[in-house]
């Protein structure tokens, strides 16, 4: 395997390919017929998934923190680079994305009936955005991709959604756009502050790390970033866009939304918020606020989920509860907690994605999402019922499934620092049974009362093909999560240690930052595109390039003026 990878110089092109090839796929989708568009999209994304699997071999857990890095100047004037790279965390986020896409597309072959070419083009565009977010090492680039994910999702909900799709789409857009605009302000402020010290302009993550900021500045920036990511996660109380978006979104939209898009928020916290503003992120009040919001999310969302008459809305609320565990894991600031949070992210992606697929399959058969319209399905659709039960159990964290590993580690890690919070969070396991089992019973068990349900077909071969890998992954990750944990550990450890004042010097992230050297030189060190390899003279860039383009806060200019 590694031989093939080496021979094809896999490491040098794979991230670029995973980001941009979906766009090439759009051409294929547009060139095909309405009928064939779904096949093209599925084949393309499935191929990308196979391609991405090589990452498992080419990423070396014992190697440097960020791997497969590449830098190219993009807007040299501002120090914006097309800089990519992944650590173990982004590795699995990318794999989750490339895995989810073909599954979501194949799982809803029959769901999407109109404007198919447009739909699948948007899905591919979405993939570009998401992978781009996870692979970006440049904050500007990250922001562009982050915003890019918003557009296709808005249309997916707004065009192919249910009856209240416009309301849901606008709500989704307003919520997330509001959050991310504040983040943009934050990014720019950070950029300006980094330059204030005299460094050449750069949006590169490693260059912005360690930017000297007062606690007050950190708190403001933390707030700006945190709002954007909290909305995306979503964290109580800014979660109300999610149930509406989920209910109205078509099945593939819901699957991608739950499986991957929510992870952008959590990923943002881990990758950016914690290391960029460590003093704010470890500020006792901030930590406590975040933990309380997380734990409230766990309990509150579970309660609200339990009384939903709409199955899809119920599952949407369970997402909020699950992501509460992630937030606990992140802000516990322990290795176990963070690792647990990351596993919850992956596990939630798989199990909730599968639940949305299953509900989509039920919807295709009965054109209803109301729980009370079903009942007794285990008799008429035994295969679907089996998949449903296993998925539901994985979702509520039964040991032996992926859900347990994540929740257990997240709570264990939280307990090390904040026992009371963890104690309340652990009640989530009770409430998970309280929301999930009644739904399972009302859909699958009880008497088969309605005649419409009597003739319902069981899973087709296509549907089995979609669900089998998901179910298998739930069990495999629950029994043997070690390959994932091992690869994520350096990344998670680096962040936890970096955020801790006391261990920062020894952390991998600090090492990566120091090694990155002075900003501006990276484009010389890592020539990717020949035209961008020209040396950038840091003294020139300001004087010559920014004439008549004064940058606020640039003290050097001010001093000389």
């Amino acid at each position: 395997m590694s031989g093939i990878l080496q021979a094809s110089a896999y490491e040098s092109w794979i991230l670029h390919a995973l980001i941009w090839l979906p766009l090439v796929g759009i051409l294929g989708v547009l060139a095909s017929s309405e009928e064939r568009a779904k096949d093209v999209a599925f084949a393309w994304t499935a191929g990308l998934f196979v391609l991405s699997l090589g990452l498992l071999w080419s990423f070396d857990p014992a190697g440097p923190l960020f791997q497969l890095t590449s830098d190219a100047a993009w807007i040299e004037l501002w120090g914006v680079g097309y800089s990519l790279g992944i650590d173990g965390i982004s590795l699995f986020m990318i794999l989750l994305t490339t895995f989810t896409m073909p599954v979501a597309i194949l799982g809803a072959y029959r769901y999407i009936r109109e404007k198919r070419r447009a739909f699948y083009s948007l899905m591919l565009l979405l993939q570009t955005g998401i992978v781009g977010v996870f692979a970006s090492m440049d904050l500007f680039l990250f922001y562009i991709f982050f915003e890019l994910t918003l557009v296709p999702m808005y249309f997916i909900v707004g065009i192919w959604g249910g009856e209240r799709r416009i309301y849901a789409a606008v709500k989704f857009f307003l919520y997330t756009a509001l959050g991310s605009l504040l983040m943009l302000v934050g990014i720019l402020y950070l950029y300006v502050q980094a330059r204030a010290g005299g460094a050449p302009p750069s949006f590169h993550y490693l260059d912005l790390l360690g930017t000297p900021l007062t606690l007050g500045e950190q708190l403001w920036l933390f707030a700006a970033f945190a709002l954007a990511f909290a909305i995306k996660v979503p964290l109580f109380p800014v979660h109300t866009w999610l149930p509406d978006a989920h209910v109205e979104a078509p099945t593939p939209g819901s699957v991608v939304l739950a499986a991957v898009l929510l992870k952008l928020g959590a990923y943002g916290f881990i990758r950016f918020v914690l290391p960029l503003f460590p003093d704010a992120a470890t500020h006792p009040t901030v930590v406590m606020v975040m933990l309380i919001l997380g734990v409230v999310g766990i309990v509150y969302a579970a309660w609200v989920a339990a009384v939903q008459p709409d199955a899809k809305k119920l599952v949407a609320y369970t997402s909020v509860a699950h992501m509460g565990f992630v937030v606990l894991g992140i802000f516990a600031l322990t290795l176990n907690g963070l690792q647990g949070g990351l596993i919850v992210m992956i596990s939630h992606g798989i199990s909730t994605g599968a639940l949305f697929l299953l509900l989509g399959m039920l919807y295709e058969r009965r054109h209803t999402r109301r729980i009370e319209d079903f009942g007794g399905l285990a008799r008429v659709t035994p295969l679907l019922a089996t998949a449903f039960v296993i998925t539901a159990l994985a979702s509520i964290g039964l040991p032996g499934t992926s859900g347990f590993v994540g929740e257990f580690l997240a709570l264990l890690g939280t307990w090390e620092r904040h026992p009371i919070i963890a104690l309340v969070g652990t009640t989530g396991v009770i409430f998970a049974a309280y929301y999930m089992l009644p739904m399972v019973q009302k859909i699958l068990f009880n008497e088969l009362e309605r005649d419409e349900n009597r003739t319902m077909p069981d899973l087709s071969r296509r549907e089995i093909t979609v669900l089998a890998p998901l179910v298998l992954l739930m069990v495999v990750l629950g029994v043997f999560p070690t390959p994932v944990l091992d690869r994520m550990e350096p990344g998670a450890r680096a962040i936890v240690e970096y955020v801790e004042e006391s261990t920062r010097e020894g952390s991998l992230l600090e090492a990566a930052r120091t090694e990155a050297g002075s900003p501006g030189r990276r484009f010389v060190d890592h020539p990717v595109f020949p035209e961008s390899t020209g040396p950038v003279d840091p003294t020139l860039s300001l004087r010559d390039g920014v004439q008549g383009f004064p940058i606020p806060g640039d003290r050097r200019l001010g001093d000389e003026g």
Binding site: L184, Q308, V380, P382, L393, V405, T427
Partner: protein, 714 residues
């Protein structure tokens, strides 16, 4: 737990004598039931799909067409019990292998690293020691018998392969529970058996009540699981490991005797144990669990799963020995549960409900035992109870099976489980009748049946337990009262079911029949065990006295000594801190005397009770008046379910609805929509750009972003 033999074992522990025990394929013991699950599960899906097709085509059930039973129904007959027999034989080989050696350290087999991150490392490892092997013997042995019984009991059920799939899966998880070498592994089994219990209680899921009962069991159990999780978190924070060996070896030095930490750990463990073992206040799920097929009640809800809490306390004996408050709480919960459940059992008419409350009550006895530090006695009662209670449930199953056939034959819609509809069944089912009387005498604590020895030992240790003697004297009194109530309600059940005139009806009585051999043979084997099972742990004092009459038996206190490597540390801590157990009961008298008194009283209760019940006129359920007065309170189970519904279930539901309707929809969304309508003020602008064309939107979005960017930079 005889103190006289202890010092030698402690010495050998200190010397760390090497073990000569080499387990034979221990992993295979686990894999066999898992394999059975996989095969039966596949057959169940095939069979289920066929039934579904029939259903879609308008036929109610697939039925066994003309060609006899399909393969999906004949194969599980061999696979289900077959894997169990193989697992039992393999366990037996290992048990015999361990008998010959002085094993002081458990044998641990680690297969792979389950979860490892940072300082945490949890292995997928199993542990073989005296405790796990005793449990494995009970699980595979009794489990095998119940699988065989099920072949006859479930023969005509369309869900036959699914039944065996669940049952095999249950055994797999139960074995993980007792074989796991660390707390998280045990937790896998712990929740796994809960899952199987859920699936099997709701096995006939078409019936809403049965499906509800399964759900209730799972949710109530999760309350207990919450406690177990929290206990694990504390243990990891203190010890940095979750391995049994690591924790129990370090505990005496790391923890402060009676300190807050160990007390908290034991109380949370108790919460977990109370959930799984149906103790007050979490017992409410077990009586409802009788909705499952009766062999399931025998295996899961009597013999094995519900004893997991006792196993947990015995396994964590070192921790409980260091937490006097925790241990006392265990004993108190056990005593309260034992007495409380026994009172309810007095007025139940459903034969399975009587046995269900009886099980809750007997589990309370086990908790009393392990609560006062008599870990071996608790495990001893666990074992004998597995024999006689499995026998009682299977016997009840045979009765229900027969009653069901009789009522079905004449289309009479009477309740096949109501004892008021039975009577005089001994003429129709003599084998069931005799074996069930054996079990009844055993559970009533009549010498020399198995239950006498185990129950007597627990009562004795409760009475002679040293600390807070007033508390233990009260518990002792409660234990004796419970034992007498047990003798009475069991006699009542036997007399109502098997004696007196038959009340089924003349036509129906013609269809009453004894169960087939594949059901009566397991009954017979369990009856033998219910007689002799107690002889493995005859107390030395009793054995040597004339009363015991067991002078010829070489194995006095065998189980106590067998488990000593595991209980010695805990025993030593307890004796050091609280002093030795007293040699006389709270009101005087030695062990032998009280053994004689107990069996004499129980026998008197059985004889007098049998006469009293027999002399009462019993009418079939439809003709019987509702119970009144205090009898009604007992019949209605002290209204605990209603109370929980009022103070827990409904408030949470109301709160859930309020959260949704008010916080989510009014407060949060109200704010969001208000902001939205302000934005709609710019609607005239919006209408201009809402062309419905995607590229326009994309263009505007990009433009907007650039404008904002520009503004910010300038």
């Amino acid at each position: 737990m005889s103190a006289s033999t202890l010092p030698t074992v402690v010495a050998s522990v200190a010397q760390g004598t090497g073990s000569g025990f080499d387990p034979v394929l221990p992993g295979l013991i686990l894999l066999l039931p898992l394999l059975g699950f996989a095969l039966n599960g596949a057959l169940a899906l095939v069979s289920g799909s066929r039934s579904a097709t029939a259903l879609r085509e308008g036929r109610e059930e697939a039925g066994h067409d003309s060609g006899g039973r399909p393969l999906t129904h004949t194969l599980p007959t061999w696979i289900g019990p077959g894997v169990m027999l193989a697992a039992f034989l393999l366990t037996l080989v290992n048990f015999v292998g361990m008998l010959g050696v002085e094993l002081v350290e458990p044998v641990i087999r680690s297969y792979w690293t389950w979860m490892a991150t940072g300082a945490l490392s949890i292995e997928a490892a199993i542990q073989l020691d005296q405790l796990s092997l005793i449990m494995m013997m009970v699980i595979t042995g009794v489990g095998f018998l119940i699988h065989v019984f099920s072949v006859g009991y479930m023969k005509e059920d369309p869900g036959y392969p699914r039944y065996f799939a669940y049952l095999n899966l249950f055994v797999f998880f139960m074995l993980i529970l007792v074989m796991g070498a660390n707390f998280p592994m045990m937790f896998v089994g712990w929740e796994g058996v809960g899952l199987c219990s859920y699936l099997l209680i709701g096995f006939w899921f078409r019936d809403r009540e049965k499906a509800d009962a399964g759900k209730k069991a799972f949710i109530v159990n999760r309350v207990g699981d919450f406690g177990l999780l929290v206990a694990m978190f504390i243990l990891f924070a203190v010890f940095g490991t979750l391995d049994y060996q690591g924790i129990f070896e370090a505990a005496p030095d790391t923890l402060v005797y009676g300190g807050a930490t160990v007390t908290a750990v034991t109380l949370f463990l108790l919460l977990g144990a109370a959930g799984k073992s149906a103790q007050v206040p979490l017992y409410v799920w077990l009586p409802d669990a009788m909705a499952g097929p009766t062999p399931v009640s025998a295996l899961i809800h009597a013999a094995t799963m519900v004893t997991a809490g006792v196993y947990l306390v015995a396994r964590s004996s070192v921790l409980f020995a260091m937490a006097p408050v925790g241990a006392a709480a265990v004993a108190t919960v056990g005593a309260v549960t034992a007495l409380f459940a026994a009172t309810i059992a007095l007025k139940q008419y459903d034969i399975k409900k009587v046995l269900a409350y009886s099980t809750v009550s007997q589990l309370g006895f086990m908790f009393m035992g392990v609560g006062v530090g008599a870990y071996a006695a608790g495990v001893f009662h666990l074992m004998t109870h597995a024999f006689f209670k499995a026998l009682l449930f299977l016997g009840a199953g045979a009765v229900i099976h027969s009653m069901h056939h009789a009522l079905h034959a004449t289309h009479k819609d009477w309740d096949a489980q109501d004892m008021r509809n039975m009577g005089g069944l001994r003429r129709f089912m003599p084998a069931t009748w005799i074996t069930m009387w054996v079990a009844t005498l055993a559970i009533a604590g009549i010498w020399p049946f198995a239950g006498f020895f185990s129950k007597d030992e627990i009562i004795w240790y409760v009475g002679t337990s040293a600390p807070a003697s007033v508390l233990y004297t009260v518990l002792w009194g409660m234990a004796i009262a419970t034992a007498l109530l047990t003798a009475f309600y069991m006699t009542r059940m036997m007399v109502m079911t098997f004696h007196g005139p038959n009340r089924t009806g003349a036509d129906e009585a013609k269809h009453l029949h004894e169960a087939p051999p594949n059901m009566t043979i397991p009954l017979g084997i369990l009856a033998v065990l219910s007689v002799f099972g107690g002889w493995i742990n005859v107390p030395g004092s009793v054995r040597e006295s004339f009363f015991g009459g067991f002078g010829f038996l070489p194995m006095s206190d065998w189980l106590d000594r067998w488990l000593e490597p595991l209980t010695a540390t805990a025993y030593q801590i307890r004796v050091d801190q609280l002093g030795a157990y007293a040699s006389t009961s709270p009101v005087g008298g030695g062990h032998v005397l009280w053994g004689a008194i107990a069996t004499g009283l129980a026998l008197a209760v059985v004889i007098i009770g049998a006469r009293a019940v027999a002399s009462r006129e019993i009418r079939p359920a439809v003709e019987s008046p509702e119970p009144t007065g205090f009898g009604k309170v007992l019949h209605d189970k002290w209204y605990v379910d209603e109370l929980y519904d009022r103070i827990i279930v409904r408030p949470i539901q109301a709160l859930s609805r309020a959260c949704w309707r008010w916080i989510d929809q009014v407060i949060i969304d109200g704010t969001v929509n208000a902001v939205g309508s302000v934005a709609r003020g710019f609607g005239w602008f919006g209408s201009l750009v809402q062309t419905g064309q995607m590229n326009t939107y994309a263009f505007i979005l990009t433009l907007g972003a650039l404008v904002i960017l520009g503004v910010l930079i300038l």
